[in-house]
Amino acid sequence: MARTRTAVIALALSWIALQPAYAENVPHPFDNTSWQALLGTHKGRPVIVHFWGFSCGNCMVELKDWGTFAKAHPDAVIAFVNWDRRGADSARITSALDKAGLGSVQSYVLANGFEEKLRFAVDHDWMGELPYTRLIAGDGTATTFSGAADFTKLSQWLDGQGQR
């Protein structure tokens, strides 16, 4: 009996140990410093930053397409920022991204606080609509997709940056 219990505990522990994707991809709070830090970390490289939300039906519909895109461009730097106001559940974000094949993207969640200011830092013209995608070229030039992404154009942009 005791041996069975030990075996069950051992199995449970090994199951927990086999969940690195969840452990690694806990979304980071997106706060006052995040936007500049995100760009600074990848300076000289193109960065795709996608803003999405559970409150946005169009975002959820295209999530799996983003998963396909990420798989086709494994070297691309892709960040996903959940922009649901007043904070979405981190575990749910991780689960949704993982399910869509986006378990390896850099994941952020809107921090509680001054949403207008955080949004202004990303793009002065962004009015908060979702989905919203900001493409930052290696030279710092920004391109915006407001609404559902056009993955053909996205691939072309990335190709133009020397990324495949």
């Binding site: 946005c56 106001r85 509680n112 949403e115 200011k117 202004f120 908060g128 979702l130 609404g147």
Partner: protein, 407 residues
Amino acid sequence: MRHHRFLCGPLLVAAALLTAPHRAAAHEGHQHAHATACKTTALACASVATGAFAPDGTFWVTWTAGGRVSAAHSADLGKTFAKPVTLPAMPLPLDDGPDARPKIAFGPDGRIAITFATRDAKYNGHAYIVRSSDGGNTFSTPQPITSGSPSQRFEAVAFDRDGRAFAAWIDKRNVAAAKAKGEPYAGAALAFAWDDKPGGHLEAATIARDNTCECCRIAVAFAGPGKPVVMFRNIFDGGIRDHAVMTFSDDGKPGPLYRVSDDDAKIDACPHQGPSLSIGGDGTYHATWFALGRNLKGVYYAHSENGGKTFSTPMRIGDPGKQTSRPYVLAAGDDVYLAYKSFDGSKTDIELMTSRDSGKTWSAPRSVAETDNASDHPVLIANGKSAYLSWMSPKQGYKLIPLEPQS
């Protein structure tokens, strides 16, 4: 556009006097907010709050805090409040989407309706109505606003002159039906229901319009007895998410749909910013909205003098470089008030414009409130001919600010 000089000295004094008690309350809220433990149901802990005046001039505010909806009334314009009524805890969390808020409406004979929505993990909404028939001394338990629908959001309730409530909301029953048949269905639908009698209950819902935007608040105003008008973001042919108005006929049925503006919003996105509508005593429809189109982008205002059939050329509101957002319009007495949010990179201002000729010309905007932190959307409310800004910021607390037309 005609611009007027500001007449703000006396107003600011009045505002300071009226809001002073709130500053004290706000200080308390500020402490709570910074402790990141502001989880009580107190107004100081609210994330959103909506003020309104009862016909007898009593001020009411309803808010969400601590996961619950509460309401309280004040006989002295918000200086002091009676003990709040906190509605029962609901099985699902309250809808915390950017355009969701609890609302309160008043009818004759002490009738009050508070409405709010909860939501599930997929952002399906579940809208409720809570009623009082004794001026707010007692309230009913929350009742679902409708049945047979997987989702209802952005509920808006107003009372007709005869005391019947009119409710409109964004409904997904036809979305679910289409999905079950494997058919496509864009957006959601505009649904409505009337009370069966004054003091009665909402009848079964009717779909007024299929294929409306599913993620924005809607606006309801009355053009006359029995004639509610609903403004909402419609989905026109080709997936164009432009605004429309629908005026109900005398028999309480939805009339024709008229386009407010040709924004040409061909975009598969959730703007999360719905419109605002107010109807003046002269029958003029005043509409303001956020456009995300190929023709128009930003915040706009237009008015209609023929019952919504046609609208004036949209007037761009605010500074394009300042994230102008969340417009709200109110016709009170002979004046029209239009407030919106403006963000300059460090602080948010609530800016106000006024019109003394039914929306034909407007004053220059001026700031009536500001914060360097998060804040709720501005809401304009009337007490007879007097207009007020109802606004909440976690740092400053709830504010009821009297407004004056600018000459």
